[in-house]
């Protein structure tokens, strides 16, 4: 393990779709499954897979319920999820700095 910022990136968070899910969830108190699906342009199955990965890592919580007869699934960021997102953004910024130093 070296001190290079790439080594600080977390596979679970760094993946494009999962980073998108965490970013969206961070902007709201909670987000609905359908909103994530249309915003990220994913199929329901694909989104479910990514959500399971994030839930297993303890980064999001998933609440299923009903509003009237309509089933709804709400996703919220956990404290660990917020910290992981912050860490990812920090690592990305460090990586960009290193790239710019290298090319400068």
């Amino acid at each position: 393990m070296t001190g290079h910022p790439v080594n600080g990136l977390d596979d679970v968070v760094h993946q494009r779709v999962r980073l998108g899910i965490l970013t969206i969830a961070h902007e709201g108190r909670r987000v609905e499954f359908g909103y994530l699906r249309t915003t990220l342009d994913l199929t329901a199955g694909n989104l479910s897979q990514h959500l399971s990965t994030l839930e297993n890592a303890g980064l999001v919580t998933i609440d299923k319920g009903y509003e009237g007869r309509r089933g709804r699934t709400w996703i919220s960021l956990t404290r660990a999820g917020r910290a992981a997102l912050r860490a990812e953004i920090r690592q990305l910024k460090q990586l960009i700095e290193q790239l710019e130093r290298g090319s400068g």
Binding site: R16, R29, T39, L95
Partner: protein, 240 residues
């Protein structure tokens, strides 16, 4: 180690773009502004139909004619109207946000806004009771500001509660535009600016210019935000 994605710059830009887009879609700044404008305009007939009670006078503490004195009275209807109207306004705004978050699928953080709103309504009530019993005739130093009695009354007026609630909303929504509108509102409403429109006593409508100007700013801002935040076609999914 993760290497998914070609360029960290593109990944960071995509993440920021997504955050901006969600924030934009979540905002409905026009609604609280509209509610507070309505509350301000409704105060006009309410205040007109109330009457001055609890007249409280004190002689001026400066050398002058023996009859020079300052009197404070409160309007019976406005005294009850403002705390009730502000609490109802916060409840309506909270209900709107809940409804909208269900419809859109993204819920914002309304809790801090509600807590601050109710605290401000309580503060307005306490401030009104205090102001109706206190005759301020001198100069006052409040956290380094030199204020006259009438300035102190403005600080405990409902307009100040509306302005502070909007400041909290600007912080929650991270909206610079709302912050600027709120500062302009506070200068006009709390500073007692009437834009040169005055109705002289003994007309019973002397309070109208102040409320019309303050309500007008809120209404104009609401219309501006409604246009700026109208739904747009959704862009494609983020790249990177």
């Amino acid at each position: 180690m993760a290497t998914d994605g070609p360029d960290p710059r593109a990944r960071l830009a995509a993440s920021r773009g997504l955050a901006r887009r969600v924030r934009r879609e979540r905002r409905a700044t026009w609604f609280p502004l509209l509610v507070f404008a309505v509350v301000t305009f409704l105060a006009i007939p309410v205040t007109r139909n109330g009457h001055a009670v609890g007249l409280n006078c004190r002689a001026l503490p400066v050398a002058g004619p023996p009859l020079a004195r300052v009197c404070v009275a409160h309007n019976s209807a406005a005294f009850v109207y403002w705390p009730v109207a502000l609490i109802v306004a916060y409840l309506v705004i909270a209900a709107f946000h809940l409804h909208r978050s269900r419809a859109r699928g993204v819920a914002g953080r309304i809790g801090p806004y509600l807590v601050v709103g109710v605290l401000l309504a309580v503060a307005v009530t306490a401030g009104s009771v205090w102001a109706s019993r206190t005759v301020l005739t001198g100069r006052y130093d409040i956290v380094g500001w030199h204020l006259l009695g009438r300035d102190v009354y403005q600080l405990v007026a409902p307009a100040c509660a509306i302005g502070l609630a909007l400041l909290v909303l600007a912080a929650i929504e991270r909206s610079v535009a709302l912050l600027l509108v709120t500062l302009a509102y506070l200068v006009v409403a709390v500073g007692g600016v009437d834009l040169g429109w005055r109705i002289a006593a003994p007309s019973p409508w002397t309070f109208v210019p102040h409320l019309v100007v303050a309500g007008g700013i809120l209404l104009l801002a609401s219309a501006g935000f409604a246009v700026a935040q109208r739904p747009r076609p959704r862009p494609g999914p983020p790249g990177g």
